[in-house]
Symmetry: C2
Subunit: 427 residues, 2 copies
Amino acid sequence: MPDGTLIADSIETLMDGIGRRAKAAARRLAGATTDEKNAALFAMASAVEARAPDILAANSDDLARARDAGMAASFLDRLTLDADRVAAIAQALRDVATLPDPVGAVMDRWTRPNGLEIARVRTPLGVIGVIYESRPNVTADAGALCLKAGNAVILRGGSDSLASSAAIHGALQEGLRQAGLPEDAIQLVPVPDRAAVGEMLKGLSGAVDVIVPRGGKSLVARVQREARVPVFAHLEGLCHLYIDRAADLAMARDIAVNAKMRRTGICGSAETLLVDRAVAGTHLRPVLEALAAAGCEVRGTDEVRALYPAAVPAGEEDFRTEYLDAIISVALVDGVEGAIAHIARYSSHHTEAIVTADAATAERFLNGIDSAILLHNASTQFADGGEFGFGGEIGIATGKMHARGPVGVEQLTSFNYRVRGTGQFRP
Amino acid sequence: MPDGTLIADSIETLMDGIGRRAKAAARRLAGATTDEKNAALFAMASAVEARAPDILAANSDDLARARDAGMAASFLDRLTLDADRVAAIAQALRDVATLPDPVGAVMDRWTRPNGLEIARVRTPLGVIGVIYESRPNVTADAGALCLKAGNAVILRGGSDSLASSAAIHGALQEGLRQAGLPEDAIQLVPVPDRAAVGEMLKGLSGAVDVIVPRGGKSLVARVQREARVPVFAHLEGLCHLYIDRAADLAMARDIAVNAKMRRTGICGSAETLLVDRAVAGTHLRPVLEALAAAGCEVRGTDEVRALYPAAVPAGEEDFRTEYLDAIISVALVDGVEGAIAHIARYSSHHTEAIVTADAATAERFLNGIDSAILLHNASTQFADGGEFGFGGEIGIATGKMHARGPVGVEQLTSFNYRVRGTGQFRP
């Protein structure tokens, strides 16, 4: 594997070759049986376990370089592998093997008056490009999900985790080999050059069908801005929780604390709390006190601070900010219509939740908001492919095309129509 | 309405305003009831009938200008309206009203072990841009399909049909008004400048969710090349018909003649005939004689010409050509695998058909080819939303994302997830 950086011309040549090989592998994978794909996934898991010492040694090298470069503790944590994390990578590969194979599933089937039988059948998408940052486990997770859906994948991990990713990638290729599937089904860009990302975003001469960025906002923003192929992504998860006049107070409090504080750094954590003015007198303070007791900084409008003086003043910018931290912005609104209006203005179209005992109000909220996931009487932290029963996800998408919400193996497929006749021709 | 051309700066301002108004209308339409949308469609149909004299007068003006400009007879035919065609436009609007409303339909529904009920529900896509050429009826057809799916639409018709389209558009707006829906739900770009297309392809500051080009190859190619938003389209329909060794000869002959000759100018017409070498001696000549008798020029490889000397020599380029005319290219292949290999090399991923009595061979063909529509023992000319039972189509897509194959009202929708709980929070 080349180790240093290459000049731009060589990168283009390198990446075009990767694209061509991925496309060839995708054709073979489209015809792979469920047994072949699962055999590869189980063999990958065994290879990851067998190669654990090599993987950990490579990770030590990455970590040493990152420490020398003065990277932050949170970065080093994301980069770090240990025996437990390697075991979890192997287990995740086995978990993907146990998922139903989406390819070949009949999505719809109907018969026309002329006797033609039409079926809409899931097919692989083709070639998926995954661009991620420092977490080495994404190499295995993304590779496995793409393979299960019959796709070839081109992985471009962060330069800081290249040795770790390459070691894991070696185990994946061993699994593919053992199952008789092409090694090019899962390729890892072997150089750290940023120009490789640019080539992927251009689509590698039509070889790449979709790009999935996994990482921070600046990576996603670059991908969304520059990609000439479709992208499955969310730029941010500015999720709202609305407590309606008909909300049970205890339920509202429990959901608010969970939606914000269970994990503050994930895209499904609530960033803004909206409370119905009609129950501000009864519901606002207990909910905010529970959030504060859980360690959350509360930022409120003047109205909120009048009822809960401990709140920090919230400015317009707070309602546009995805804190990804133990901070929440709070505003009062006029019932569900006020909540819908606020969310239409500030939402990132990811996930929003309402707490109410009024079924009609809940339906109005669920029908009136254009976000990927809408919840009634449940925490925003359920915005997750695993929690949806998808058995894993490669990310969450906020675009309205093809995949929206959690992107699992089914969302990594396309479909076509199979029409069966008995000699029909069109009059 | 401005009549002349505008400078580029004004076009940008004009189009941005159209985009903003479309987005505002889309928000209102997303909450429109089925009754409101259908009332608008019926009122539009009545308005088209009531305004038929104005529409025909505007069309006469367009035709006079086109004749003065020396346009071809086929162009003039596409542009021409008469009383029957106006009546057909009104009927098409009523037909769309009778289609089921896709918005709000539950696509999937399941319950998680923790009691969360998850439903995947169809929602409008948002704002659709339709760019078309000289057929004025597209104004009504595209406007109606987008409205039924709860979308706002921005129509950009050919400059040669602007007066006709504007007259029809006036009737559509009258229908929207009568139903209490915003007139901005269906906007027509009121100027002929090509720069307006460029602005639409850039997405009008994020207002446009998808572009649908309706027209010839050069229009579609420009849209696919320049669009910064998703496109539903096919560049060409280079459709294949494969006659297998297990084909019934009479069925093969009837399907071949229909697939090529029923209408030669549509995207679903067959352009290449592949015949299994194993039955070349029995099947080739009768099929080609039937095609020739129907008025088709047959172009064949040397092998084909040895068995059917009347064939014109076919070069490599013939197998890459969508004739859209009474011409067919013919080659021999080694069974279904040979057909799959030929199609993988030359196909435009639109529609391919096999004639065979062997079920296993048919399944291999249907599973082995990456095209939007695959048919067994049926004519390629069934590649049509109406024939699929979609009740109309805005086009046929060959991309693998979101919509593939015929694009009807269902394909003009997105979806989101509605999660109903009883106070669940995530452990």
